[in-house]
């Protein structure tokens, strides 16, 4: 008897649980359908979202530009630091081929040297072609010859020792490690990145201040709501929570729109540069700015800016509510 009724009891229990769950779900849905306590955006609220979108767009563009400049400067430095040149000037009684071979052997003997390539006569003639025209006979002119030395940028060779050994074994050979150029470029790149970072800091400060003032402006129209909630017995954390959530969502909405617009601009530039790779203007732009890609760090920065601006609007609305409530009480 007991065995027969037990499954039935379990079924009844299960049915009751399902009904209770359905009721809870229905109650939750009904609660969700209630009008939000904070009124929908008015003119000031919409202006706030627009201002946040514009300022986020400009901030993200600045951030992307700084990322681009930083990456490009780093590439310039690395590319130049990857090479050194040995130049051998012709002199009377100098066997150029032997001098070139000796110099290459000296250079190749140092650790940190990845390769040492002699620029052959044909390649040298091609280099001079823009100035001296085609059909140049190298034997007629005392043209210096070059050896391109490939360098490991991390484990750089001892240039002073190499220079001394070259002077001893190959008279007339001059080693140029491009130090002067690299130093100048490093200084230029550092100052460019510093300027970019300063502009970014100014831009972010301006964005933060604009967000704060726009949020306060939008909050000003909600004074009566805070007052009514306060007088019907709502506790300060409840009121602050309502406004915080509303303004964080509004702030994130504006910031996301601005951030997305900035990302679209970068994607368009990247697409343009990739479609102009083999053209003179494309090569010129690529030489200056790389491939216009802001990379993962740029996209993460945009996402971070959106989150920060959302948090900033939430904090501003929270502080405004608490200040307003304190003013009512006194």
């Amino acid at each position: 008897m007991t065995n027969i009724s037990q499954p039935r009891q379990q079924a009844i229990h299960l049915k009751e649980r399902i009904q209770a769950g359905v009721k809870r779900q229905a109650a939750r849905r009904l609660a969700q359908r209630q009008t939000p306590i904070v009124p929908p955006d008015n003119v000031a609220g919409r202006a706030m979202v627009l201002v946040i979108a514009i300022m986020t767009f400009l901030s993200c563009l600045t951030l992307g530009a700084v990322t681009l400049v930083r990456d490009t400067a780093a590439t310039w430095q690395t590319q130049i630091a990857r090479e050194a040149t040995i130049q051998i000037k012709p002199a009377e009684g100098l066997d150029m081929q032997k001098a070139l071979t000796d110099a290459r052997a000296v250079a190749a003997g140092y650790s940190g040297v990845d390769s040492a390539e002699i620029v052959d006569a044909r390649a040298t003639a091609r280099l001079l072609e823009p100035w001296l025209g085609p059909g140049l006979d190298m034997d007629e002119l005392p043209v210096p010859r070059l050896i391109i030395v490939g360098i490991d940028p991390v484990d750089r060779p001892d240039f002073a020792a190499m220079r001394a050994e070259l002077a001893e074994k190959v008279p007339g050979a001059v080693l140029d490690d491009h130090r002067t150029w690299v130093d100048r470029l490093v200084a230029m790149a550092r100052s460019t990145v510093s300027i970019g970072m300063s502009v970014l800091v100014l831009m972010l400060s301006a964005t933060a201040l604009t967000v704060i003032f726009a949020t306060r402006g939008a909050m000003a129209g909600n004074g009566h709501v805070i007052e009514v909630l306060h007088f019907v017995g709502a506790e300060a954390p409840f009121i602050a929570r309502q406004f915080r959530r509303h303004f964080m969502l509004a702030g994130c909405r504006g910031a996301a729109a601005g951030g997305m617009a900035a990302i679209i601009v970068f994607i368009l530039f990247s697409w343009w540069s990739s479609h102009n790779i083999a053209t003179p203007q494309g090569d010129q732009a690529a030489a200056l700015f790389g491939n216009f890609s802001i990379g993962i760090s740029g996209y993460v920065g945009v996402g971070l800016a959106v989150l920060l601006i959302g948090m900033l609007t939430a904090t501003t609305s929270h502080v405004t509510v608490i200040t307003f409530l304190r003013r009512i009480e006194t």
Partner: protein
Amino acid sequence: MIRFENVGLRYGMGPEVLRDVSFHLPERSFQFLSGPSGTGKTTLLRLLFMSLKPTRGLINIFGKDRSRITREDLPLMRRRIGIVFQDFRLLDHLTTYENVALPLRVRGREETSYRGDVIELLKWVGLGDRMHVLPPVLSGGEKQRAAIARALVEQPSILLADEPTGNVDPQLARRLLRLLIELNRMGTAVVIATHDIGLMDQVDARRMVLSGGRLHIYD
């Protein structure tokens, strides 16, 4: 229930708006607070509602000294006091039903737990067919009744009404007064701030008259 002893109040460095005000509001009592405009009726109501602190004197509300009530305690204390503002202070983006249910909603109660009570209350104040209407569509009298319903939804111990008949015609004023008398019979103390002599003459109730910042009581 509420006791004032030699209470004085001034705004900033200005003159005293209220001087040596002393009275006792017993439970289930009914009284008018009267006096010419600008004599401090609203200020006295704000003191009763604890949105102002006296500059001197003692106020005892529900057995607690006002000066010892902290900011955190105020919302809980206020739930025992219903207030009807002269300008109604309804939220225009919420329906009449949502406005009336607001005190319960802010307490975090589930909507299903109070829906029936709020609808019943709306029917009692004659707004049963206007519960899904937004306040800008309501007439002055309907707004006033919605504001009264909101003040009563938590079944307060005392109802404070600031010029509840100020914006309605005499017929509706009588109807609202009957509503408040009925409420008082059900156990809620009522304080009506008004300068409408005609309204006061309709009920034999205690009159508290403010004049020159001082309070005179006529039982």
